[in-house]
């Protein structure tokens, strides 16, 4: 048994962290979030150059990048490409992604059907993550998976609380589409849940760091506020939620990467605990900051919005707990 990342994976983590610290300080992230585009499209090639889009990476490497990029709130369609579309890409798209030439998201809500002939699609897909940032979108339609170019005529941006991960609507009207030799199955969902959980861990870690830094220095009533148990115990609770969520997220990532029999319950456990933990972490951090944590100027709310985005993604905690309950109560094979 070994519950730690390998030294290669830890080196990857360090390099990701260094890059993000250098290039994506809060100020730049905020500026990008407030920009029309929502990110710096020229950065996609940088990510590719650093190997973040390399087909050789496994899910554990993706887990590391997901956690660290969420810690920095990197605005880029990396999650869409790697957590959503990745397993469905064909060689052509995979190579183009690896080269930093294409970025891809996945559209699976709504009603899109293939037209007669099968090389065009018609219909509307909603709530597509990072649709406005990607070059291509994979559309689940009629049991198949189709690649469509995310050109302005089919993309409708939607105002989203988390401006670093915007949702869009895809409106197709006999739009050219290429059918891929792939099918949308539970493993795609599992993967996205595991990586969403890892993102939640990164968000919670940042909330902890912000809360700790602030409560160590801010004074009220003549004392550093971190000396009040009403404050410090909430910070301790953030730490607890963070560590529990992290343990489950790593378990989920490992279980999915190994196609472990417990993968389904692991991702549901991780998704519910890690994303709810991230929301709690941000809420406690905002409270610990007092009024300043409630301003648009402070970076905290951006993490809070990401935490909520992750909590809402692919089922709230109660939906995942219902799945866990079914697994442990309704089947005879004891999952515990």
């Amino acid at each position: 048994m070994d519950f730690a990342f390998s030294s290669e994976q830890e080196q990857l983590r360090a390099s990701v962290r260094d890059y993000l610290r250098d290039r994506y300080g809060d100020e730049r992230v905020v500026a990008l979030a407030e920009s029309d585009a929502g990110w710096d499209p020229s950065s996609w090639r940088e990510l590719a150059d650093m190997g973040w889009l390399d087909p050789s990476l496994g899910l554990l490497e993706h887990a590391v990048i997901a956690e660290e990029s969420a810690y920095a709130l990197l605005p880029a369609p990396w999650f869409a490409t790697v957590a959503l579309a990745w397993p469905l890409l064909d060689e052509q798209l995979r190579d183009a992604v690896a080269a930093g030439e294409r970025s891809v998201t996945l559209a699976r809500h709504g009603s899109v059907t293939a037209d007669a002939g099968g090389d065009t699609l018609t219909g509307v897909a909603t709530l597509v993550p990072d649709l406005t940032s990607v070059t291509d979108v994979l559309v689940v339609a009629d049991g198949g998976v189709y690649a469509v170019e995310a050109t302005p005529d089919v993309v409708v941006p939607r105002s989203t609380m988390d401006r670093t991960r915007r949702l869009g609507e895809l409106r197709l009207d006999r739009t050219p589409a290429r059918r891929l030799d792939a099918s949308f199955g539970p493993e795609v969902r599992r993967r996205s849940l595991a990586l969403a959980s890892c993102e939640a861990v990164g968000v919670a870690q940042r909330a902890l760091d912000l809360a700790a830094a602030y409560t160590k220095t801010r004074e009220q009533f003549g004392r550093v506020i971190g000396t009040y148990q009403a404050v410090s115990h909430k910070v301790a609770d953030i730490f607890v939620a963070l560590q529990l969520g992290r343990s489950l997220a790593y378990w989920a990532a490992w279980a999915v990467s190994e196609d472990d029999p417990q993968a389904d319950v692991a991702v549901s456990a991780a998704k519910s605990a890690a994303t709810e933990g991230a929301v709690l972490a941000c809420e406690y951090a905002i409270q610990a900051h007092g009024g300043i944590g409630f301003t648009y100027e402070h970076v905290l709310h951006r993490y809070y919005k990401r935490a909520q985005w992750l909590e809402a993604f692919e089922g709230y905690g109660r939906d995942h707990r219902a799945a866990v309950a079914a697994a442990i109560l309704d089947s005879e094979g004891a999952v515990a």
Binding site: R158, S159, M161, L167, G222, Q287
Partner: protein, 387 residues
């Protein structure tokens, strides 16, 4: 004990209900609520109508333009307004904080000067209590006022001042004696916001809206007699303000929560909420609302019988804020991933998204939950002062 209206209360309620029906735009009560952006012109117009109909300052002394009515009328007014989602009076700070403090501490001239236009909504008030370095810690205020002839000269900065961008007057806590101990050096000024040297800068909140403001005072000259109480009495005057803010707030909070519970039920019916886990939580919000309502009424009954609000009233703001946070999160969670949209295309055009984000301020503004728990533990339960 009788939870029903007396004949007098019933008559007041019936008249009010009729007036609201007649005066609000057709279909108002059943409309889908709009996101939080605030319509100043509409609010001013509504304020005028409220005032003309005699629904403003119901419990205030008649001699200063109030209604001289029992507190239950104010409760009924808030209940009925919430039930149909009627707008607020524009003078929220004036009615809840400045007015009661002026009634308690003002000279007769001050009462006559300030109260009538406050009630009519002709003059809007804001408050200047918190400072960047002292949020909950009022006694740490550093904005100073120095006497120069017959005028106080004010310099400093306040923050978290709602309505300051449209306010005509400000209740301002200043330090007039830097040599005195923290509390003893404070005084309480009534400052004309149109005086040269007053600068208001909106401060955007988590919602993106500039609901609060920073207010900068640079050599602002205030007449010597524009003070409530004497120099050095500012702490005591401010405590009156906060007592009223926290004391009379209960019914307004009940009204706001009642409206939110009704909205939550409406939303649940629209989007479907068959999941018993969700239903359990919706029921809890409703129960929390009733608990808030009747706790306020118990406190009010004590006020009417003894002149002092009951101690149970101290839980209202704390309970409301945490309930409202749970409620708005629950409302988002009914919307799936669509909960993350916040404008066109969002459920109710983003009403809930705005409310949910806004709710995070509830446990910070007007006394943080930490401060309120201190107050309950120390002043109500009688524990020693926490350290």
């Amino acid at each position: 004990m009788d939870f029903r209206d007396t004949p007098d209360e019933a008559a007041f309620r019936a008249g009010l209900r009729q007036w609201l029906t007649d005066t609000l735009p057709a279909g108002w009560a059943d409309r889908t609520p709009a996101p939080g952006r605030w319509d100043e012109a509409f609010t001013r117009e509504w304020t005028r109508k409220l005032y003309d109909a005699g629904y403003v300052g119901l419990t205030w002394p008649k001699e200063y333009g109030g209604g001289g009515a029992p507190h239950t009328h104010q409760g009924i007014y808030l209940e009925e307004s919430a039930r149909v989602g009627a707008p607020d009076h524009i003078g929220v700070i004036g009615l809840g904080m400045a007015g009661p403090t002026i009634i308690a501490w003002g000279t007769d001239e001050q009462k006559k000067r300030y109260l009538p236009p406050l009630l009519a909504g002709e003059e809007v008030w804001c408050q200047g209590f918190s400072e960047p370095g002292s949020g909950s810690d009022l006694a740490g205020a550093r904005t100073r006022a120095e006497l120069d002839g017959d005028e106080w000269v004010v310099n400093g900065q306040k923050v978290w001042s709602s309505y300051a961008h449209i306010a005509d007057w400000c209740i301002l806590v200043v330090r007039t004696d830097p040599s005195a101990s923290k509390h003893a050096g404070l005084s309480y000024l009534l400052v004309d916001m149109h005086t040269p040297g007053v600068e208001v800068r909106p401060l955007r909140q988590i919602t993106g809206d500039p609901e609060f403001n920073e207010v900068f005072f640079t050599d602002v000259r205030v007449p010597r007699d524009s003070m409530l109480g004497q120099p050095g009495e500012g702490w005591n005057v401010a405590m009156t303000t906060l007592l009223h803010e926290r004391g009379t707030l209960g019914f307004a909070l009940t009204a706001a929560l009642e409206r939110q519970v009704l909205n939550l039920v409406k939303l649940a019916r629209e989007v479907g909420a068959d999941d018993p886990v969700v239903r359990d939580q919706i029921a809890q919000q409703w129960i929390d609302l009733q608990a808030l309502r009747f706790t306020n009424y118990r406190s009010l009954t004590a006020l009417q019988k003894t002149g002092v609000p009951g101690p149970e009233g101290s839980v209202a703001k704390l309970h409301w804020s945490e309930t409202n946070q749970r409620l708005t999160k629950l409302a988002l969670s009914l919307q799936g991933l669509a909960s993350q949209l916040d404008g066109d295309g969002a459920v109710w055009d983003g009403y809930w998204q705005y409310q949910q984000l806004r709710s995070r301020g509830n446990t910070i503004e007007a006394g943080t939950s930490e401060v309120l728990r201190n107050i309950i533990a120390e002043r109500v339960v009688g524990l020693p002062r926490s350290r």
